[in-house]
Amino acid sequence: MTNSEKNRLKDKAFQVFGVFCTFIGLVVLAVFLFDIILEGARRIDWDFLVSLPSRRAARAGILTAWVGTLWILVLTTIIAFPLGVAAGVYLEEYARKSKMANFLEINIANLAGVPSIIYGLLGLEIFVRQMNLGGSLLAGALTLSLLILPIIIVTTREAIKSVPRSVRDGSYALGASKWQTVWNQVLPASFGGILTGIILALSRAVGEAAPLIVIGALAYVPFTPSSPLDEFTVLPIQIFNWTSRPQAEFQTNAAAAIIVLLIITFMLNGIAVYLRNRQQKKIKW
């Protein structure tokens, strides 16, 4: 075999390996989803969705878990949305190039890389103890809000950046103030992008278990929460709890709860992708 034939053979071999690697992740994903559905789907019925947790696997349901997840989603949105968008607007529209702005930027990049469990420790000390909120929905939502704040800020900035200078100029030239320009022109024009970022951030929050476990969210909550100060559990914690038990029936419950959690996660991501595509089609500057 000549040298060049050898080279060509290696090239081909790598191509095959490339295909293999590209699809192995996807194949594993498919196998896994298949396995989960096979194990969990038959357990999902109306009773499963509306039953309280129980020590007996066959009677246990996920009512408190998904209601808790919903509460957390809503509260986290209420807290993190205005805060993140405001910070993004400040950094993109108001902050002048300065040491301070630079520092803020590095700091936000750093926060994005802090492990979620560390946010749990922060929430435990500040919200649960200092502010005396206990292991409540509010404490959980505040903790998760801090966790997703960097994501919202970064995506807000990107969305705002894509609004062309000329729109701002047009507004200023008509006598609009900075805030009027931001509120009437920049934010409406970048709203689709901002919304996409928020939904992606929420899909991250909805799957988090670790920080909520640290702040003291419990796996066993006998009632659905009715106020932000109530104790709670969420789907990921319920799944964790069932997964950690040796009995096979609980594993089945876990698989069923995973299906529900994945549906929520994929739905959020789907909406985000849809919004992003629509936004890209709608406005061509």
């Binding site: 002048r96 190039k97 062309p164 000329s166 729109v167 100029d169 047009g170 507004s171 200023y172 030239a173 008509l174 006598g175 609009a176 103030s177 009027q180 009437n184 022109q185 409406p188 024009a189 406005i283 061509k284």
Partner: protein
């Protein structure tokens, strides 16, 4: 007829972008209800100068001026002057049409709305008046709620003019308003400028000699941040005083 007074003046004006000296010792006075054309090779400071009259340069980091800019004899770069009030008086139209991504109606009444005017009847009347004034009414009157981005380039630019007129300015600054448009739309804009001159003081930056000749009463020629020559348009085009002006007008550079 009474003598026209000086609407806009610059006195010993210098302007800087950081260390870069963009405008050098400019002195000029422009009479009311006249059209003044700014010409000169690109990068000579026409836009920079134009934007000092409504302080659009305020948002650029490191930009500063020395000397005075007067509107109706009053310095507009003092602390007491509010830029929003100034810009109600001095409207601006940009090189590339820049309608807001909203409806045609929303575009025209934007300036009024941010002043706090929200009565529907008032807004509708103002919209109709300005669109008529900008010679766009007949083309859009049935589609006021359509997106402004759906209009053609020439229509968009007239919409931007209507938008500027809606807040009743007395000065209109136009930075190469037709350079991005086709010849037909350009002709329409020029016609419009001719119409508007009865009521507004207009300053127009242009690259197009013929256009300057057609629409303006006076012409100012800029070169590398200096005002080289300023005179009646006719005089400038027939007997320019400075050789740089001469070279530019005859197309030797630019």
């Amino acid at each position: 007829m009474s003598r026209k007074h000086n609407k806009l003046e610059a006195i010993n004006l210098d302007a800087y972008y950081g260390d870069f000296h963009a405008l050098k010792g400019i002195n000029i006075a422009m009479e009311e209800k006249n059209v003044t054309a700014f010409i000169g090779p690109s990068g000579c400071g026409k836009s920079t100068f134009l934007r000092t009259f409504n302080r659009m340069n305020d948002y650029i980091d490191g930009f500063r001026t020395e000397g005075d800019i007067l509107l109706d004899g009053k310095d507009i770069y003092t602390k007491e002057v509010r830029v929003d009030e100034l810009r109600k008086e001095v409207g601006m139209v940009f090189q590339k049409p820049n309608p807001f991504p909203k409806t045609i109606f929303e575009n025209v009444v934007y300036g009024l709305k941010i002043q706090g005017i929200s009565k529907k009847a008032v807004l509708e009347e103002a919209a109709e008046k300005s669109l008529k004034r900008a010679a766009l009414w007949n083309e859009v009157k049935d589609n006021l709620n359509k997106s402004a981005l759906a209009l053609s380039g020439g229509q968009q630019q007239r919409l931007c003019i209507a938008r500027a007129l809606a807040i009743s300015p007395s000065v209109l600054l136009m930075d190469e308003p037709a350079s991005a448009l086709d010849p037909l739309s350009t002709a329409k804009i020029e016609e419009l400028i001719y119409e508007l001159k009865n009521d507004y003081t207009i300053v127009i930056v242009t690259h197009n000699m013929q256009q300057a000749g057609r629409v303006s009463d006076n012409t100012a020629f800029f070169y590398m941040g200096e005002l080289v020559e300023y005179s009646k348009t006719k005089t400038m085009f027939t007997s320019p005083q400075d050789t740089r002006t001469q070279n530019y007008i005859t197309g030797r550079f630019g």
